[in-house]
């Protein structure tokens, strides 16, 4: 692990009572959802993590409970260090605070997470879909979302598939 992280991570763990998660020498802090703004403010202002490099989510359904993890990748330009944060979130009407007040670029990331996973961000200034059409139903990157594919036509079932295909009129 990086020297800077070696000195800062224990401080943070002690101060906020957090858990850590380590995978192949990369360390992530596990932050409860209500604490995220507080932790990020401290990271930005005291520990020089000035940049939100990425924000995303993972759906662990059905293996894990709670189902969602929101993942933040913070980057310190001054120290050239990256730190990951993970926020576990329950699957029933998932919602958490928007990080827009700390890092303004969270705006689009959170719109994408809302679009793809249906996780609401309270206090977000403009929570619309960003990738899918506005009238789209459902959130496609959830593991229980149907793939929605069409049956593949072979010579034996071509006519049957063709009959169901919605051809355009002139």
């Amino acid at each position: 692990m990086n020297e800077y992280l070696q000195s800062t991570v224990p401080l943070l763990v002690e101060r906020f009572g957090l858990d850590t998660y380590e995978f192949r020498d990369q360390i992530s802090l596990i932050v409860p959802a209500p604490q995220i703004i507080e932790v990020c403010l401290v990271l930005r202002d005291e520990f020089k993590f000035e940049m939100l490099a990425a924000q995303s989510a993972v759906d662990y359904w059905p293996q894990q409970e709670p189902r969602f993890h929101i993942i933040y990748q913070l980057y310190s330009l001054e120290k050239n260090v990256r730190l990951g944060l993970r926020v576990p979130l329950d699957g029933n009407a998932p919602s958490m605070a928007s990080l827009e007040v700390v890092y303004p670029n969270a705006n689009w990331h959170e719109r994408e997470i809302w679009d793809m996973f249906g996780i609401r961000f309270e206090g977000h200034s403009d929570l619309r879909r960003i990738l899918m059409p506005y009238d789209w139903e459902g959130h496609p990157l959830r593991k229980d979302y149907p793939l929605g594919y069409e049956e593949v036509a072979f010579s034996f079932n071509r006519e049957e598939v063709d009959r169901r295909k919605p051809y355009a009129k002139e």
Binding site: Y149, A168, K169
Partner: protein, 160 residues
């Protein structure tokens, strides 16, 4: 050319209206730019110097649907793009034709999922399908020549 020997000294040729109109339509067919993915690269290549689509009177790609009469749908069409594609098709003046270039535009190709339209024929009527992923420029030019054949055989009674 040889044609002047058949003219006599009158300077006039007699032809069927169908033939003249269809000849004019095929030899100055202006395609609309509709590059959506990697097929567009092959489409550009078909127009560039090596393959030179202008041999068939088609060097002029129009960025405006109002000036074009052929839409080459080159690439996958996402569900979000579908209404845009239909709108552009509706803005093209008659007569108009559509070539679905490549597997994605023809049937969805490898993208058999919720986000991609499974064949552009769900949105607009397609005249010629060109297979390939992506099709080589020769394949696209062949598709266009097939379309020319189709246009040449159109009848006056079918014009609306």
């Amino acid at each position: 050319m040889g044609v002047e020997q058949k003219l006599g000294n009158m300077g006039a040729v007699t032809l069927k209206l169908e033939q003249v109109v269809n000849w004019a339509r095929t030899n100055a067919m202006w395609p609309m730019l509709f590059g959506l993915a990697c097929c567009a690269i092959e489409m550009m290549s078909a127009q560039a110097s090596n393959y030179d689509m202008s041999r068939f009177g088609m060097e002029l790609m129009r960025a405006s649907p109002r000036q074009s009469d052929l839409m080459i749908v080159a690439g996958r069409v996402s569900r979000k793009m579908a209404p845009v594609l239909r709108r552009l098709y509706d803005q093209m003046p008659d007569p108009k034709w559509v070539i679905a270039m490549g597997d994605c535009a023809s049937c969805g190709g490898v993208f058999n999922n919720y986000a991609i339209v499974q064949g552009v024929d769900e949105i607009v009527p397609v005249d010629v399908y060109v297979a390939g992923c992506p099709p080589r420029p020769e394949a696209l030019i062949h598709g266009i020549l097939v379309l020319h054949e189709k246009v040449r055989s159109e009848k006056v009674k079918d014009w609306s």
